[in-house]
Amino acid sequence: MRVWSDRPELLHLAIFFAAYVLGCGFAQALAIIPETGISIWLPSGLFIATLALASRRSWPQWVVAGLLAELVGNVLWFHNPLPVALLIFAGNALEAVVGAWLVTRFGRPVRLDSLPEVLALMVLGAGIAPIVGATVASATLAWFDMQSFSAAWPLFWLGNASGVLIAAPLALALFQDWRSGTALSEPRWLEAAAIGLILLGAAVLSLSAYLPFAYLIMPPLLWAAVRFEFRGAAVSLALIAIIAAVFTISGDSQFAGEPGSQTLKQIMLHLFLAVSAISAVIVAAISRQHQAALFALSERERELSQLVDLLPAYIRRLTPEGRPFFFNKRLTDYIGASLEEINAIDGDRLEPAVKDYVHPDEAGDVEAAIRSAVATGQAYSLKYRMRGIDGVYRWIETRAEPLRNQDGTIAQWYSVSIDIDEQVRLYRELEEREGKIRRLIDSDIIGIVFWDLDGRILEANDAFLRMVQYEREDLRAGLRWFDMSPPEWQEKHARYEAEELMATGKMQAREKEFFRKDGSRVPVLIGAACFEGQSTQGVAYILDLTARRQAEAALSERERFLWQVVETLPVMVDCAAPDGEPIYRNQQLREFLGYDLEALDGTGKSRLAGTLDAGVHPDDLEGVKTNYAHSLATGEPYARRHRLRRFDGEYRWVETRAAPMYDPKGETVQWNVICLDIDGEVQTQEKLRLAQERLSRASQAASLAELSASIAHEVNQPLAAIVANSHACHRWLMDSPPNLARAKVTAERIIRDANSAADVVSRIRALFKRSTATRSPTELGSVVAEGLGLMADEVVRLRVRIDTDIESDLPLVSIDRVQILQVLVNLMRNGIEAMDVTKGAGVLGLRVRLMGDTIQTEISDRGPGIAFPEKIFEPFFTTKEHGMGMGLAVCRSIVEAHDGRLWAERNEPHGATFIFTLPAEAKAAK
């Protein structure tokens, strides 16, 4: 241990120097033989202690400092010749060097901690080293004839040894302990003061009185050494030395006296001091050693206690009665209460303590276990939840065991608790997870199999066994899934599944089949996965698809049934997408149309437009499209009759109805359309309508006659009056003399009545001016046909032949059908009646043709012809005996009301032709 650095501080050197000089002075004061310096040589102790602590490299400096100090001492007190002084110092220095070398060599480190070190210091430093100094000094004195070697040597040795014994511990204690500077407490100071006083008293008493009394000083000296160790010993020794020196100098000391006895007394003093020093130092060393041992023990105990607190466990110690008397820190930290706080409450604390800190669910068990353990002395182990300072319960595991005395009685209980909350939680989680998996396996919903790629079933649950109708015994006997797979599945497995499992560790769910025990097949859905880190074993999940297959079969059977119903219903069915595009047609409709759904695809039109264009009669197409578009746009049901082209090209009347089908959200899913062939009904209706029309026409003809009669009557009345008046007037004028007055009155009446007749004609004209509102686009051909039908009877009766020449594809004309019919009938009847007179030549020609934008109808007869082609159209012009002359006029007015013309031409060689035109309305329809 290096206390000082290689280069000593100047201050230290100075102190050393001063102390050395003081030591010299002290030696001079106690010198046994004056002028020799032979005395208690304190510098020897100082020198050894200094060198022992200083680095060896610095020794020369210390030696030089010592030399200077000793030379100063020589000059002041010893007065030796310089060579003597130098030689003596050389001895002293050599002694110090040897002593320090020995001490540091064998007694390292130079601490007065233990008895061996102290003994080493005494033997080596105080015993051997002074031999060197004493020998050199004695030899020097002998050489210079100052003293004999043999007389000087023991005194020198004794003086040096005493110096070492007193000064070295003092110096070491000074250098070391005071540097570390542990302050004394107040009681210690008092104690130190008390010892000092006693020591002082004892020293004064012992040193001033009878010599053996000197040893009275030993108890306080040893007391100081015991209590204050080296510091006490060193200070006490220094004190004793000083007192001894003072008494010696003053002569009061028992060591002072006659010169003869002085040498002996001096030696006795030295011995006394040496014995005191040895005793004090040894006791101090023992005390130091004891203190160190105590300190080490307490250190170890502290470490143990720290260890106990460091342990990740809650530790209690309890009395044999179960009362705790130790909690480790972790426990008190955890529960937030110290042992004292718990024990501060009177009474039996076991129950309340358990109740306070143990979870209510386990409190009863814990209490019972403790009580039972205390009663029987049996160790116990428990798991329970304990509440922490934060109010949260954590799981702990507690083990308590008794520690027994030699006689077997229980000395105390040790209880150690470990926090297992995390483990419990993990365990619970694990348990829960395992429970879930177990639930999955045990639930009979899904078949679960543990398999290996060798084809074995390692484990299977009941659901699977039930699926394949095997027993658990069969499984134990060794069931092979591979053998349960039908051959085609074995092949598939070998080819695909095994590879998939190898590559991905999984097999995607797929449908396959297994053989049941009875050899029947069960359809299943199966998915599999390898165990983690395993490529040849795994788990498979299997669902029985039997019920689903049955349901599917039932469903498809139902679907097939419904399909058949739809396909075979004696109506045409069509389904269309929400936008109207046909997506399905039943057999009836396909057969009617003569082509399939897709036949018209790719024509550029939508399927709907294509179908309508191809199938619907051109006359109806526009309306059908409009209605369809309306329904598709609004969702309103569609209903309409139209003609639809059959596969053979015939247009047949159909009735089509369509309604949207909605999904739950109200969106149109599709349109369902039925289409009924009602051609038969329409034809029947048409026939009926024709019959009715014919009937009404007959009645119209009758009413025509009636009308003629009425007209005749209306006209006849004024005419009759006119005629009568004319005759009367004539007669009045023919009288002689003429009765002019009456004639005048009568003539006025004639004028009045003639006007009245004219009014009648106007009224009749008005009568025939029918509104154009009744007009509708009509095929003229159909009207002609109707007219021919009406004339049929007359034609037969009069044996007339009618030659017709009617152009096909005539455009429609907007006409009042009844009026035009009347014109036709009138003209035909006129022609027939004209020929009546020339019997045998009854041929009536009827021709209808398109002339530009008008349709021209010509009716020609082979009668006598007409003399006045224009006049015949004047009202009341007639060539017939019975005709009133209204017919042609009415006809002309009707035709003109239709923006047409009616005129007559002569026929060559004979006969007349009546011609009327009507403006064509629309483009020719196909």
Binding site: L719, A720, A728, H730, R742
Partner: protein, 126 residues
């Protein structure tokens, strides 16, 4: 004057025709009694009449019904029928009725028919 003018009753619902007939007959020297309906004639009575001219189509009693009634009361009273409807005329002619005129009738022919219906009266035998 020795010669008494014959009395002719005319029944027609058309006032114009009634008027013109009255004029014509008066121009021929007949005394004319005009009635707008058969009922009016019957109210007046038939006793002083020599000839009856009646329209057929009238509201209320028709000319034919009037003729039948007159036939019972005065079988000797000649009745001349007139009508505007030729089809009725055709039918009656077919049924043998002779004293029948269609409107518009020929005035001289009517006067002649009246004349021929009054031989006795005209001779003034009473």
């Amino acid at each position: 004057m020795s010669k008494k003018s014959p009395v002719v009753a005319v029944v027609d619902d058309d006032p114009r025709l009634l008027e013109s007939l009255e004029d014509l007959l008066e121009s021929a020297g007949h005394v004319v009694r005009s009635f707008p309906s058969a009922e009016a004639l019957l109210v007046n009575g038939l006793s002083d009449l020599d000839v009856l001219i009646t329209d057929i189509g009238m509201p209320g009693l028709s000319g034919l019904e009037l003729r039948d009634l007159v036939e019972k009361d005065r079988p000797d009273l000649p009745v001349i029928l007139i009508t505007g409807r030729h089809e009725i005329a055709d039918r009656l002619r077919a049924g043998g009725v002779s004293r029948l005129f269609c409107k518009p009738f020929d005035g001289p022919a009517l006067l002649e028919a009246i004349g021929s219906a009054l031989p006795d009266v005209e001779t003034g035998e009473r």
